[in-house]
């Protein structure tokens, strides 16, 4: 209600004093009788901060994986099929005697950075296309967006597999395959943002003030797109992690001895009833990464929206 927000114009002041001149603290407050949802609100920001910090922490773990990994992930280093919490092997060993913690960390590193790369490529390529289409409009917009629609109409996972298969196995080829189908979403979202911002009065005012087209886009429109782009991208990391694990589960992706979460699940799936931890640990890791990315992305959105 506009009325109430207007009246809060004077709420910027602390040190409240009531009518008789006595400090407001003399008035009984309802500190302990608040509805649950509202009591959570200030805490909610802290939860959001923790979740975003988790995103950063995951990236750090991925970055430092070679240092953190206790053993060589490819060479057998201990007894076969050691269960988790064994001495010297926190997560146990696999059927070849390789340290599972090391394999998981290195696999996590590959998955996480691959997902970041795909999202970054998508954001750059799609973003560039979206900004050009949104800022120029007219036939440029129509042409670029119909091109984007063409890619959106293709079944994403299938095209990714087809491209990957055509190029041959290998992590780089998988990344190319996924990137090819991933950028159109960003193009659409960013074009819509740019178009919305471009018609705002502050852009018109800047145009009248003499700002050129590049300047308008770079200084008056793009900074407004960044929050949306960041949130969309971080929410997307989880999806890419799952898609990449799926492709590697199907045998695409990195070749055999290198640790990779999807392939490791596939290779040890037959052990599920015996040495269950060998397929379950990489599978849980994929789930965890996806969860962190989604919760972190949501939290990032909450924080950015709260700042506006």
């Amino acid at each position: 209600m506009s009325g109430t927000t207007r009246t809060t114009g004077m709420t910027g002041a602390a040190g409240a004093v009531d009518t008789a001149g006595a400090p407001l603290s003399a008035v009984p407050r309802r500190r302990f009788a608040l509805p649950v949802g509202e009591r959570l609100r200030p805490a909610g920001r802290n939860v959001s901060r923790v979740l975003v910090a988790l995103l950063v922490l995951t990236t750090l773990v991925a970055l430092l994986a070679p240092v953190l990994a206790p053993d060589n992930p490819i060479q057998p280093v201990g007894d076969l099929n050691l269960p988790p919490l064994s001495a010297h092997h926190l997560l146990g060993t696999d059927n070849l005697g390789r340290d599972l913690l090391s394999r998981t960390l290195i696999g996590l590193r590959a998955s996480w950075f691959s997902a970041l790369a795909v999202v970054a490529v998508g954001l750059l390529a799609g973003g560039l296309l979206g900004v050009v289409a949104g800022a120029f409009g007219g036939w440029v917009d129509a042409l670029l967006m119909r091109f984007t629609d063409l890619f959106l109409a293709l079944p994403g996972a299938l095209v990714a597999i087809a491209v990957n298969a055509a190029l041959g196995p290998g992590l780089l080829h998988t990344l190319i395959g996924v990137s090819v189908v991933w950028w159109p979403y960003y193009a659409r979202i960013i074009r819509a943002e740019v178009r919305g911002l471009a018609s705002r009065p502050h852009v018109e005012a800047a145009r009248l003030a003499g700002a050129g087209r590049l300047r308008l886009i770079g200084r008056h429109i793009l900074p407004g797109v960044v929050p949306t782009a960041l949130v969309t991208a971080s929410l997307d990391i989880g999806n890419v992690v799952v898609l990449l694990a799926g492709l590697s589960f199907l045998g695409l992706g990195q070749s055999a001895p290198a640790p990779e979460l999807g392939a490791d699940v596939q290779n040890s799936l037959y052990l599920l009833l015996g040495q269950w931890w060998i397929p379950i640990i990489p599978a849980l890791t994929v789930m965890l990464l996806s969860l962190i990315a989604n919760l972190g992305g949501d939290a990032l959105r909450n924080l950015l929206e709260g700042d506006r």
Partner: protein, 647 residues
């Protein structure tokens, strides 16, 4: 479902404060329903609300009675607490603001602070009505209005009757309309119809006319007065404009920082204010009799934080009559002998009368003819060479195509065959209602909108000041960056740029520290000053102003208008000023051009247009300008038969 349970964003749907929320210090007892006591009674009401973790007082000891059949005006600037008072009276304060309430509030015989939610709903349903500022957000956009009214009345026949009662033409046909198919005035009438359901004893109207054109505003005010007569209900009428309150109210309460500065019979209060704030508000009001030459009267702005002012009279930092005790002691409400006025001021009421006489302009227009006393290369004449024209508009047309949803596309002619000359150095005001095409014309001159017919010749450069300064400044850039961008685009060398920045900030009365600040951290008035600074830091030939003060409080508006006038004088600019308010147009323009439905209907010397309008549409605009000097000079369309104040 009552009118107040309609899906209104925000407060209207929020539950009332819990009974336990208010500490029970209020001792007043409820007047028994059905007796001749007041319809609503507020005693010693204090409300503090919390926003972003900071608790601050909004109302600080308010007393108010509304007698049966009485229209009480509640007047104050933004932040004075008038809407919070209304919400508290309706039991609709949002719980998320964590209200702490002391005192007592009774409406239609019900204790609105301690009643159960069911009791509050029942009394809102049957005894109270409410009209909000924006009917578009108060009505459900997905429901036909007939269903929305019938939902409250329970009977479609009665719904048609009510629509008739609020003077909606062809009520039976309008029942099938969706809110977006109605004009703003009609939507507000639909809200009034819903508010009238069940014959309420009190209607709370929170700035019901602020979003409406002046002519529509006049009609709605007349309607409210009629409804009071026909239905015998009381009205609490909230507005920021004393002149609007003057049109229909019996009594007026002036609210300042959560306290009643002064309350009394309207005529008494408007003609003989006894509080310096009321006198200041009256003095800073721009009317058709404000002198055109010299600076416009303003209320001094307040640089002192609210918290430091509240120990004494909150107005003491702006008050021309301040005494030592004003800063430390809260003045009590004391009656003024024989007038029915209650005032909260340490000064004698005669002292206030003297400053009121000094600031309120002499009546009559004749004394203020002639140009604004600004740059005039030569007096106007018909045989002028074209080279003296700053803007030349010829047969201008602008047609918009709208294609919304599944409806067939239709075209709107925002401008049709507009011919307009603006002489170099001249100040021209363009007046019209919303939708008259005045803003489109300005945008076409600025080059922001492409015309579909005709030509515009602009000799020199143009800069524009937008209606909403907040949205016309890029939120993530600092004020310094915005000014630098303008200077850079005009290829001003760095040393010169620094000097000009300094000068323009000084001229605008802004401290140099604003350069490092982003627009979001500035107040509304400061933002409009920054926008103006950017427009004139490199002086343009033509300054285009699109209702730059319509979103500002009256006292702030006058100071921004003064700045525009000063800048024009100093920089010898041509000014084209768009407004919906003829009083402002007269003060800002040597000439006035009147627009209606995309056409220019009349133009001429500002004084002539205001004193002797030739076109009926100009006359309608002029008649609709709210005036303080009522009831004698009240137009025939106004509520003529106002009963005497109820006390």
């Amino acid at each position: 479902m009552s009118a107040h349970d309609l899906p209104t964003p925000g407060t209207a749907r929020a539950p009332g404060p819990e009974p336990g929320a208010a500490s029970r210090s209020g001792s007043a007892t409820a007047p028994a329903a059905g007796t001749a006591g007041p319809v609503a009674s507020v005693r010693g009401l204090s409300v503090s609300l919390q926003r972003q973790g900071v608790r601050s007082p909004v109302l600080r000891g308010v007393d108010l009675d509304i007698a049966p059949g009485e229209i009480v005006g509640l007047v104050g600037e933004s932040g004075s607490g008038k809407s919070v008072l209304a919400m508290t009276m309706l039991g609709l304060l949002p719980r998320s603001a964590r209200p702490v309430i002391t005192g007592s509030v009774h409406a239609a015989g019900t204790d609105m602070l301690h009643g159960t939610p069911a009791q509050l709903r029942a009394v809102r349903r049957s005894r109270l009505g409410v009209i909000f500022q924006d009917p578009m957000t108060s009505l459900n956009p997905t429901m036909r209005i007939g269903r929305q009214i019938t939902e409250v009345t329970g009977d479609s026949g009665e719904a048609v009757t009510l629509l008739g009662a609020v003077r909606v033409p062809e009520p039976a046909r309008r029942m099938r309309a969706f809110p977006h198919e109605l004009s703003g005035g009609l939507r507000q009438r639909v809200m009034a119809a819903i508010a009238l359901t069940g014959r309420p004893r009190l209607i709370v109207a929170d700035e019901p006319t602020t979003a409406l054109d002046v002519t529509v505003q006049a009609q709605l005010l007349a309607l409210l007065a009629d409804l009071r007569r026909e239905f015998g209900c009381s009205v609490l009428f909230i507005t920021h404009d004393l002149a609007v309150a003057a049109q229909i109210t019996d009594r007026i309460a002036v609210l300042y920082q959560g306290r009643v500065a002064e309350i009394g019979p309207s005529a008494q209060l408007l003609h003989h204010p006894t509080h310096p704030y009321t006198a200041g508000l009256l003095g800073s009001r721009l009317s058709l009799s404000t002198p055109r030459t010299g600076a416009l009267p303003t209320l001094p702005a307040d640089g002192v934080p609210v918290a430091e002012r509240l120990r004494g009279c909150a107005y003491h930092t702006r008050c021309p009559l301040v005494l030592d005790r004003c800063a430390s002691q809260q003045p009590p409400a004391t009656p003024v002998e024989g007038t029915g006025v209650l005032r909260a001021c340490w000064r004698d009421s005669t002292a206030v009368r003297d400053i009121h006489r000094a600031v309120v302009p002499a009546e009559g227009l004749a004394a203020h003819a002639g140009p604004l006393g600004a740059v005039h290369p030569s007096p106007g004449g018909s045989g002028k060479p074209a080279a003296d024209l700053a803007v030349e508009v010829r047969a201008l047309g602008c047609r918009f195509h709208s294609r919304s949803g599944f409806e067939p596309r239709h075209t709107v002619d925002a401008l049709q065959g507009v011919d307009l000359d603006v002489r170099a150095g001249e100040a021209l005001s363009i007046v019209g209602e919303s939708g008259s095409g005045k803003s489109t014309l300005l945008r076409v001159i600025a080059g922001l909108t492409r015309p579909t017919a005709g030509t515009v010749v602009l000799r020199g450069t143009a800069q524009m000041v937008f209606q909403d300064a907040g949205s016309s400044l890029t939120p993530w850039l600092t004020v310094g960056a915005l000014l630098r961008e303008r200077l850079r685009a005009a290829k001003v060398p760095p040393a010169e740029a620094a000097r000009r920045t300094e000068e323009v900030l000084a001229a605008m009365g802004l401290p140099a520290s604003v350069l490092k600040v982003r627009p979001g951290e500035l107040s509304g008035g400061q933002r409009q000053r920054v926008a103006l600074a950017r427009a004139v830091v490199v002086p343009p030939t033509v300054l285009l102003c699109d209702e730059p003060t319509s979103a500002l409080d009256a006292s702030l508006a006058a100071s921004v208008l003064n700045l525009i006038r000063e800048m024009r004088r100093e920089l010898a600019m041509t000014v084209v000023f768009v407004t919906h308010d003829l009083a402002v147009a007269r003060l800002m323009g040597d000439r006035i051009a009147v627009m209606a439905q995309g056409r220019l209907v009349e133009q001429g010397d500002a004084h002539d247009i205001v004193t002797a309008p030739a076109d009926p549409r100009t006359r309608a605009l002029l008649d609709a300008v709210p005036r303080i000097d009522v009831p004698a000079a009240r137009p025939a369309t106004g509520p003529a038969d106002r009963p005497e104040a109820a006390r």
